[in-house]
């Protein structure tokens, strides 16, 4: 089957689109088909950003159906919660503890509690990214943690990183490794 449907949720400027691109390219390197879909324009100006990636032997629609995502990758708590409907009953949500305040007074502890109730796997992505030497690499930390759930090995993600990331490559490779080590191989 090799099918993995992925929803990536975050806000503008968190490297959502790069994360989607890396997954799609790694899948292509693995000889699978990949499609990704995203929304640009007005929505990107600090608003919520959602990317969809689907990989498999054959991918038809680029859109992920609600209740069918194998992975929900959250770069921000509120946006991950907003996309929870996509997650399948057997899927995994790998979510950064990062919280970007909204105009209304909601707190990070409240969002964390709601994420825990949903069974999200919560990652201190910012701490790990800083540890790797680049605070911007939280998206790559999440990729590392998620890399256990793909039908191919981490080396293809690393190859995709080398192909697509020019600045802070070493830091990003380290961020990937730290993210991967945070979860046991299932």
């Amino acid at each position: 089957m090799n099918k993995v449907d992925i929803v990536i949720a975050g806000v503008g400027g968190q490297g959502n689109l790069l994360l989607a691109k890396l997954i799609a390219e790694a899948a292509l390197l693995a000889g699978l088909e990949a499609k990704r879909s995203e929304i640009k324009g007005l929505a990107q100006r600090g608003g919520p950003v959602q990317s969809l990636v689907k990989i498999g032997e054959q991918v038809w629609s680029p859109l992920v159906e609600r209740g069918q995502a194998d992975l929900l990758l959250g770069l921000e708590l509120v946006e991950a919660l907003r996309n929870v409907q996509f997650l399948s009953s057997t899927g995994h949500a790998i979510v950064s503890r990062n919280f970007v305040p909204t105009p209304l007074p909601f707190s990070q502890p409240e969002m964390l509690a709601r994420a825990q109730q949903r069974g999200f796997i919560l990652i201190s992505a910012l701490d790990l990214a800083k540890q790797a030497g680049n605070a911007q690499s939280t998206n790559i930390v999440i990729l590392g943690a998620a890399s256990h759930f793909f039908p191919f090995g981490p080396e293809l993600f690393q190859e995709a990183l080398r192909k697509n990331v020019k600045r802070f490559l070493e830091e990003n490779l380290k961020a990937f490794q730290l993210g991967r080590e945070i979860l046991p191989t299932p």
Binding site: L28, K35, L42, A43, W60, E65, G67, R118
Partner: protein, 518 residues
């Protein structure tokens, strides 16, 4: 060559380049801006022009086509309203070099004012339309569109949607056809001059051509019918990206008809209609295919009978429900805080809007661009937004009927695009308006394409000051990063002037500054 991942926009650009396209013209608009961006970055020598608006972009392409050059014109769906005048008349005059008009529709209005369906406009203009379902097809259809355009002597419309434009999938290129750069100009007034006596003949000729269009549609490889020989129970007709949503759920028990060309292949559709007991139509936008069938048969289901909603984009979720497949996503997380898109941190526009809010004018007419963000909290300054350039035109109407000094706000690129004609009226009628031009020296919202005021290699800056000076309208330029008290005084003084007065808030787009540095 192996497959590469391309967005639909990129695929169209490469399809055009590989079809020997000689010129590309566009006005940026989400989701179609990246078509010409791709031509620009392609490393080929295909000349590209960011036109002042879509009408001019289309006329540029039409002129080139008359000289036997293959031309690619790209715009968002709403841009076609601006280009409608030359587009519709060009189906009367016909074209010489292939003219392909790639239009990005925006179902669900992710970045648009409406979700009009360009297929309808292609049929309204009585020309041919192709609708790709993924990047590979976008590439192939762009190439085919040039061939069709030249064989039919008609502009061909390529109907894209946001999910195709920005969806990325594998594409296999096919061998290139070199561009035919030999300009051949053979003026033909009976075709190229649409005075009434000519136009009457041209309309007749266009109508006679319709049989050819229909015949091509019937034979097109972009329409595919698969009949289930074991069961006539159900059939699905699907087009564009909606075909892929349907294909995802297709179990082989239903018959399946994929549509990719317009005018519709009615013979094929008729055969399908006769074969199947029930038919579900899945299409993006208006129920165009469905309408052509529904009047023939009550067994057709889709948007007209309420199986699918009439608005917003199609999804695999909707198809699952339309096919009555099991569908039970987990409950949504309710009561989550809304997140409004906002100005980039430190943007000069937000300073100008804060000052405008403090001014307290009775009505602020807004326009199309980043500054539409001033509708949302905390600024909540703009009262109307209708279309490109409407800020000045509508403020004129309000002033004419006696509303006290309306304010019109628009960006520099929008001003050049559609603000010049109403500005002429404002000056001519000495209308009592304050016009605020937000000049960030770029077309920011769509990714930083140049405006006519940008200087560069081979282009000359059309100065905003000289244009306004030529109009004879008083204006003042200010830096929006000045202290609030100074800004308030500038706005108050401008507002007290009788007749039209223009304030220009000038500060370079910060996102562009960042982009240039990286």
């Amino acid at each position: 060559m192996s497959k590469i991942l391309l967005s639909g926009d990129e695929a169209v650009a490469w399809g055009a380049i590989h079809a020997g396209c000689c010129i590309s013209a566009a006005y940026p608009g989400t989701p179609a801006s990246e078509i010409q961006e791709t031509v620009a970055r392609s490393g080929t020598n295909v000349p590209f022009y960011w036109s002042v608006n879509e009408k001019v972009a289309y006329e540029v392409c039409l002129g080139a086509s008359y000289a036997n050059q293959r031309a690619l014109c790209s715009m968002k769906h709403i841009g076609l309203n601006v280009a409608m005048d030359p587009f519709i008349n060009s189906t009367f005059t016909g074209v010489n070099g292939g003219l392909v008009l790639a239009v990005g529709d925006d179902p669900s209005m992710y970045s648009s004012q409406n979700e009009q369906d360009s297929r309808i406009l292609a049929l309204f203009a009585k020309t041919f339309c192709l609708e790709p379902s993924d990047s590979q097809e976008a590439y192939e259809m762009a190439r085919a569109a040039f061939e069709l355009s030249e064989s039919l002597h008609l502009p061909v419309l390529l109907r894209m949607v946001t999910r195709i434009c920005y969806g990325e999938g594998p594409v296999q290129f096919s061998p290139e056809r070199p561009p035919n750069n030999t300009v051949r100009l053979e003026p033909d007034r009976k075709r190229w001059v649409v005075v009434p006596s000519h136009a009457r003949m041209l309309h007749k000729a266009l109508n006679e051509k319709q049989a050819d269009l229909a015949a091509i549609s019937e034979q097109s490889p972009f329409n595919q019918m698969r009949l289930n020989l074991k069961s006539r129970k159900r059939g699905i007709i699907a087009s564009g990206i909606a075909y892929l949503h349907a294909r995802q759920h297709w179990d082989g028990d239903s018959s399946l008809l994929k549509i990719g060309t317009y005018p519709l292949p009615m013979k094929m559709i008729g055969e399908f209609l006769d074969y199947c007991e029930e038919i579900l139509v899945v299409e993006e936008g208006e129920p165009l295919i469905e309408k052509s069938l529904a009047r023939l048969s009550p067994k057709v289901h889709g948007k007209l009978d309420g199986t699918f909603p009439r608005e917003w984009e199609m999804t695999p979720d909707l198809v699952a429900q339309g096919l009555k497949l099991p569908y039970s996503p987990p409950p949504a997380e309710i009561d989550l805080p809304q997140r409004f898109p906002g100005f980039c941190a430190g943007c000069g526009y937000s300073k100008s809007f804060a000052a405008l809010k403090r001014l307290g004018a009775p009505v602020v007419n807004g326009d199309i661009g980043c500054y539409s963000l001033a509708v949302f909290p905390p600024l909540e300054t703009i009262d109307t937004i209708v279309c490109m350039g409407a800020s000045i035109g509508m403020a004129l109407g309000l002033a004419y009927v006696g509303v006290k000094k309306p304010v019109a706000v628009l960006g520099d690129s929008t001003f050049f695009h559609a603000g010049l004609p109403p500005m002429v009226d404002a000056v001519h009628n000495q209308a009592d308006l304050l016009i605020l031009i937000l000049d960030n020296e770029t077309t920011a919202m769509t990714g930083g394409q140049p405006t006519p005021a940008c200087a560069g290699e081979g282009v000359r800056s059309v100065s905003l000051e000289q244009v306004l000076g030529g109009f004879g309208v008083p204006f003042r330029i200010f830096n929006p990063y000045r202290p609030d008290a100074e800004l308030d005084q500038i706005f108050r003084e401008a507002y007290q002037q009788a007749g039209p007065f223009v304030l220009i808030s000038r500060s370079e787009c910060l996102t562009e500054v960042k982009r240039r540095k990286s």
